[in-house]
Symmetry: C2
Subunit: 482 residues, 2 copies
């Protein structure tokens, strides 16, 4: 084969192949409901079908796209299926996908304001819009001492918050000297494992995490928190960080943020509120009670990439004191110096996150908010919440099942009364059927099924079918057990 002058895809070819991919995705949207939700492949099966080495010569785009159907699709667990009720939603939408496409096409690197001012300014602006949309405290606005930024995930947001808290508590000495074992962090025994990972990464250590007891609703007990902080302080330790959850991953438990916030303020401890999935609900005025007390938080995050129709990744993270965050994360090598940065008039988002580089993620958020409008977003959130409430009522009405935790929003924790083994079998068989996909947690030692309702195209008929399948499968299992 003779060498070509260029191997790049031309603009004309891009038009042609781009249309093919757009049509592929539209076809996928139309057929995803009919595909088995949980991939049924065995470990190693996908790899075994791939060539052992990269091709020497280039291949036709049509071949590659056909291979997505042939080789990749069987290994996909369909998060975009309306029958996906596992983990948490990761609901994408047309405007989000097209915003992501545009971002890839522009290919800008948003590490500094100067490296693409629109990437930074649209992001700041969207995060300000969202403060109003969710009725978050004014101190999170970029026009105050605070401000917001897009992170890849709530895990990274809690790590950034922890670093800011660590440095505030030690007056930036930890960045210089390293940790010394005295910093203590607090969360409930139910809270997301992301704080455990963050405390490991930040050099604080697992032993310095205090897991605070929860009440009968699986929410943190403020009195226990206050006691733990006082005890640590009495021992010469430095309480520096509390994470409260608005909707734990496990059961959607909502911590009493107001009471926790008062303790944190009195003790001078940084309060981070993680509303990764549930935060989206605050778009609806009647659900804003979930944010009671957030005005006492030092930082807050929620994920449009979970329940706000924006494809991963897009976690929105705000701080009340951006100087603390920037002070914790800023470094300035010569090759990144520029006039705009030196002037102090701009935001350089590389100082608000772990990595240096960043994509133009605000575009998809802008597209989603404008496509739906606030009313459109509210409509779909309300539908999801109503479906979950209905599902919970069905569970409660069935003597063979029980609701296992409060259902404040769109997650129903429930179980068959037949015990752990039966629930495990029930879940495995439903998932293996491909008809729907459910996952589990363990609440007070008992295996508990989680029905998470929030995928873009999930409607009443999908929830009805799911409940029928659950009941039917449970009857078969119970009969076999008798």
């Amino acid at each position: 084969m003779t060498e070509q002058a260029s191997y790049h895809m031309t603009a004309a070819e891009f038009r042609q192949h781009g249309r093919a991919v757009v049509d592929w995705i539209a076809d996928y949207m139309e057929k995803v409901e009919s595909l088995p939700v949980l991939s049924q492949v065995q470990p190693g099966e996908i790899r075994a079908a791939l060539p052992a080495a990269a091709p020497k010569q280039g291949e036709a785009f049509a071949t590659m796209l056909a291979d997505v159907d042939r080789l990749i699709l069987p290994g996909i667990t369909h998060w975009q299926s309306p029958n996906f009720f596992a983990y948490f939603p990761a609901n994408a939408s047309g405007p989000a996908i097209l915003g992501e496409l545009l971002s890839a096409g522009l290919g800008v690197q948003g590490m500094l304001w100067a490296t693409s001012p629109a990437c930074t300014e649209l992001e700041t602006h969207m995060l300000d819009w969202l403060v109003a949309m969710l009725d978050l405290p004014q101190k999170f606005l970029s026009t105050t001492n605070g401000g917001g930024v897009i992170q890849d995930s709530a895990s990274s947001a809690v790590l950034c918050a922890l670093l800011a808290a660590r440095e505030r508590a030690t007056q930036f000495a930890t960045n210089q000297q390293g940790c010394d074992g005295r910093l203590i962090v607090y969360t409930s025994s139910q809270t997301h494992s992301s704080l455990e990972k963050a405390a490991m990464i930040a050099g604080i250590g697992r032993a310095q995490i205090r897991l605070i007891d929860v009440d009968e609703h699986l929410a943190m007990q403020p009195a226990s928190l206050a006691a733990a902080i006082e005890q640590d302080r009495a021992q010469g330790l430095i309480p520096c960080f509390v994470v409260a959850s608005v909707g734990t991953t496990s059961s959607n438990a909502i911590d009493p943020v107001a009471a926790i916030g008062q303790i944190c303020q009195a003790q001078g401890v940084w309060l981070h509120v993680d509303a990764a999935m549930a935060g989206t609900a605050a778009l609806c005025p009647e659900l804003r009670w979930i944010h009671a007390g957030v005005d006492l938080a030092d930082s807050y995050c929620f994920n449009p990439h979970k329940w706000m129709f924006t494809n991963f990744d897009c976690d929105c993270f705000w701080v009340a004191d951006r100087a603390a965050l920037i002070g914790a994360l800023s470094i300035l090598p010569e090759y990144l110096r520029n006039q705009a940065t030196e002037s102090g008039a701009v935001i350089d988002y590389r100082d608000w996150q772990i990595p240096l580089g960043r994509r133009f993620r605000a575009l998809k958020l802008w597209f989603v908010i404008r496509h739906y409008g606030v009313e459109g977003l509210r409509h779909h959130i309300r539908q999801h919440v109503a479906l979950a409430q209905t599902f919970a009522a069905w569970v409660q009405a069935d003597p063979n099942f029980e609701v296992a935790a409060p259902v404040p929003l769109n997650l129903v924790c429930f179980r068959h009364r037949g015990g752990d083994a039966l629930n495990q079998q029930l879940m495995d068989q439903l998932n293996h059927s491909g008809q729907l996909y459910l996952t589990h947690t363990r609440l007070r030692g008992k295996l508990t099924l989680r029905m998470s309702i929030g995928q873009t195209h999930t409607t009443a008929r999908h929830v009805v079918s799911a409940w029928q399948a659950i009941q039917t499968q449970a009857e078969t299992l119970s009969a076999a057990a008798d």
Copy 2:
């Protein structure tokens, strides 16, 4: 306005709007060369044109796309322009953009093998392909004790490597107890600031970073490294981590990895090799000398999102001992437990990275490698290197200019002999002209211009024009100074 039954974009509308965005990007590819490379807007200018609040009702997609032209484009610094010579390349391509689009359309969450087996297995497979493509050591293959993973950036890769090194050095005690101030890390005085940020994040502290002297080529001096390690050990400290650069960001200096590796092996210190931009060159057998000694590294990364036609984010990161990495980053809450994970037969990439969630980034890498083929990738890398060598020769032949550092690959550090002020003015005026975009560094105290050649569509004529513009502008400035 009456409430609609659904506010979602239908599949049919997605086809229509998707085509419009594909055409928009193709048009952008065709015109980007004619746009001013560095955005000329002032701080706040983009935001000032945006509505103060989110729309209540949804808007038409065509309006949004028109607003990208009207409101966003003036604030874009065109990284995809063939006249972009600043920082480092971030070269996207048609197949990469379409891979990203497909990934957004599938909308899978790849945190666990079980949450989409193809997402994990294609990634493992691509990273194995790349071991062969770059002739990296076999110990990085997933079929050994090692393996590769896609990170968002080289900054995150170095942080993950540091955490693995930290835990290996302390037998996982730091994850439990936190840092205690005795861990020491090493890199050259020229190396990327990402290690400084990682050491801060990891609780090790800036004071525990030893910046090792460089030689006349700005490469680390192994004897100084050995002396520093011995001195720290003699004081009861714990040397745990060395970062060697194959191509520093500042000047593309290449550290003597083989000599550094021998010291690290003798001392039992983790060696991480950062080849963020330069690593791509190893696709070409005649440039593989840059990887001499990488067989002694514990971890290695390079960024296809810099110089391998893959849009951000896509950093490829390998470790020789994946147990060390997983041990440093793994946590397992109940709600993520599943049979595949318990069986030990699969990779769960959430344990190889900072965040929990992850996109299906291997798709774009697969598309890029298959579209170009190894020969196509080599062709374009060779062209960029040749252009940089030619540019360096022009600089050397001009008595008013000098080459300021060795030019091993595609970055030329150079300066006008007229001093810092003249070079600063020269750069500012060139950038302000919009004709090209250059950035600077400081080498041995002197302001130095950086000509980074690696954008997808940069060809000889763009480099010729750039050099003409540089010479012309310099003559004007020199004349004005006389």
